[in-house]
């Protein structure tokens, strides 16, 4: 044997496919493994379904919480609009004075809009809201002052608080109420909720990884001999890994689809009592739906999680599987 510079062994000449046909071969193997892994899943329908159901259940909880938060955020945006101040005028102020004060308030810097409410209008709203017509009608005198609802330009709490101070200093103004406390409370709750949702999403995402990882680990174990043989005759790790990655992705996709279905069912199940509850408060509220975009995101995430779980399981295992 001569020691020539690197040249592939010749002899009966090993033929190497050209690069274009190599890419075609690579794509062909992807397609074949994609279908083959799906067939393997279908061959054990109950087992596959159970795995997918476990994934779906792990996905439903964070997804539902996320949906709830999303609708809370919508509510919050509406509330920003209505982050209003109510300026109560002193009781002795008459209508002409009220008009002047109203103009002064509207001219104040940082005020977007105003809506004056006369004492009589205030009474009417109050009666309507509480349904206490009889009791209030017995009052001889209207106990309510005239008021002005002010929509600030800047809904940030500090700005609103500053504006309130300025308005309170105007003559004829008795008191300025701002409904910030509960708004802030709601914000804090929403923040808490979104952090919880994130923590849950991470935990349950890990759960999905474990479910897929464990299933794939068993699949690798059952095909150990096959893996050893193909590695003996020159299969790369990528080649060995490929069918399992597709299995993982299928499990993830199936779990995601089931999760979408479960969310839809849950929505149907809860829709009637929720809208009845909302109606009893005189509001109309429908449960949020996942929608096309949300479903696509969920499916993408679940598929990626399945793929990743398989990758971790196979890679951990490949290190152990050594051809004998």
């Amino acid at each position: 044997m001569s020691r020539q510079p690197p040249a592939p062994p010749r002899g009966a000449r090993t033929q190497r496919p050209r690069s274009s046909s190599r890419i075609r071969g690579w794509l062909r193997h992807h397609r074949a493994m994609c279908l083959d892994s799906a067939r393997r899943l279908l061959r054990t329908p109950i087992g596959s379904l159970l795995t997918m159901l476990a994934i779906a259940i792990a996905l439903v909880l964070p997804a539902a919480l996320w949906l709830a938060l999303d609708s809370a955020r919508l509510l919050d945006a509406e509330l920003d609009e209505s982050a209003t101040l109510t300026v109560y005028l002193e009781r002795h102020v008459d209508e002409a004075q009220a008009g002047r004060i109203g103009e002064a308030v509207a001219a104040q810097e940082g005020v977007a809009r105003t809506r004056p409410i006369s004492a009589a209008e205030g009474m009417a709203e109050f009666q309507q809201a509480l349904g206490l017509e009889d009791a209030l009608e017995r009052l001889e005198d209207n106990p309510l002052p005239a008021s002005i609802v002010v929509v600030p330009l800047d809904p940030a709490p500090e700005a609103v608080r500053r504006l309130a101070g300025e308005l309170e200093a105007l003559s004829g103004v008795d008191e300025v109420r701002l409904d910030l406390a509960w708004l802030e409370r709601l914000r804090h709750l929403a923040e808490l909720g979104s952090r919880l949702a994130l923590a849950l999403a991470v935990l349950f995402g890990l759960g999905v990884l474990l479910v897929v990882g464990n299933t794939i680990r068993l699949a690798v174990e059952s095909r150990r001999q096959e893996i050893e043989v193909v590695m003996l005759i020159g299969a790369t790790h990528a080649f060995v890994r490929r069918p399992f990655l597709y299995s993982g992705a299928w499990y993830g996709l199936g779990g995601g689809l089931l999760a979408c279905g479960l969310l839809g069912l849950g929505n149907q199940w809860l829709a009637a009592p929720v809208s009845a509850l909302a109606a009893s408060y005189g509001a109309s509220f429908t449960l949020p739906r996942l929608g096309a975009e949300g479903s696509a995101t969920l499916l993408l995430c679940s598929t990626l999680l399945g793929w990743l779980g398989a990758w971790i399981a196979v890679s951990r295992h490949l290190a152990e599987v050594r051809p004998r």
Partner: protein
């Protein structure tokens, strides 16, 4: 084609499977590796297949120090070496055809080109009519021939065989050996580990004799 330079292999730091092995196999040669079981035949073949790496010395194949190959290069090296295993290492859940096609599938061959080569290899070992059968339906000798077809379907320049006639009767063993001689005749370098001394003696090829992990004789072809 194969060059061993002061090669030693220890397992677990104590047991010395091979010690100070030096030999060279030229391109196109056919060589038998013999010795009683435990003499180190399999260990030596495993070094060439890169299933193990030597603890001392160097192994060169086609001019490359295979001990220095990066792990990611190992699969590509193995594709150039055809190996016939004593226990066949066939996949029992797929047909003879698909077993033989496996090396080509791994290399991403066009299915039509692959089918052509698989049939040619099966024809060569006389099993073309059994291509749809499962390995379990075949006799030991036939399974071994499937293993040989799989090893040569890739047209490797080096063909290794570990006890290819281990469990076969003398007539079948002679047939199998004749197959290896055919491949050798078209330029393939062949190395066969076997303890069937009578058969080896009849075939008149070069013989490397191992005893307790040492190369004790290198008898050129008569």
């Amino acid at each position: 084609m194969i060059l061993f330079e002061h090669v030693g292999k220890r397992y677990g730091g104590r047991f010395e499977a091979l010690a100070n092995i030096d030999f060279r196999v030229r391109r196109g040669e056919m060589v038998f590796l013999t010795g009683h079981s435990g003499a180190g035949k399999s260990s030596l073949l495993r070094l060439i297949m890169l299933l193990e790496r030597p603890t001392r010395g160097r192994v060169l194949v086609a001019g490359h120090d295979i001990g220095r190959l990066h792990p990611s290069q190992v699969p590509f090296y193995r594709r150039q070496v055809g190996v016939v295993f004593q226990d066949h290492q066939l996949l029992f859940d797929r047909s003879i055809f698909h077993n033989v096609a496996l090396p080509l599938e791994i290399r991403g061959f066009d299915p039509r080109e692959a089918a052509r080569r698989v049939r040619a290899a099966l024809d060569k070992v006389g099993l073309l009519h059994r291509e749809k059968a499962l390995p379990i339906e075949l006799s030991g000798g036939e399974q071994q021939r499937v293993g040989i077809a799989r090893a040569v379907v890739n047209k490797p320049s080096l063909l290794l065989a570990d006890e290819p006639t281990g469990n076969l009767d003398p007539q079948l063993s002679a047939d199998i050996m004749a197959l290896f001689e055919d491949f050798n005749r078209i330029g393939t370098t062949v190395m066969i580990a076997s303890h069937d001394l009578a058969l080896i003696a009849r075939l008149r090829h070069r013989v490397l004799r191992l005893r307790d992990g040492r190369l004790v004789a290198d008898e050129e072809a008569a």
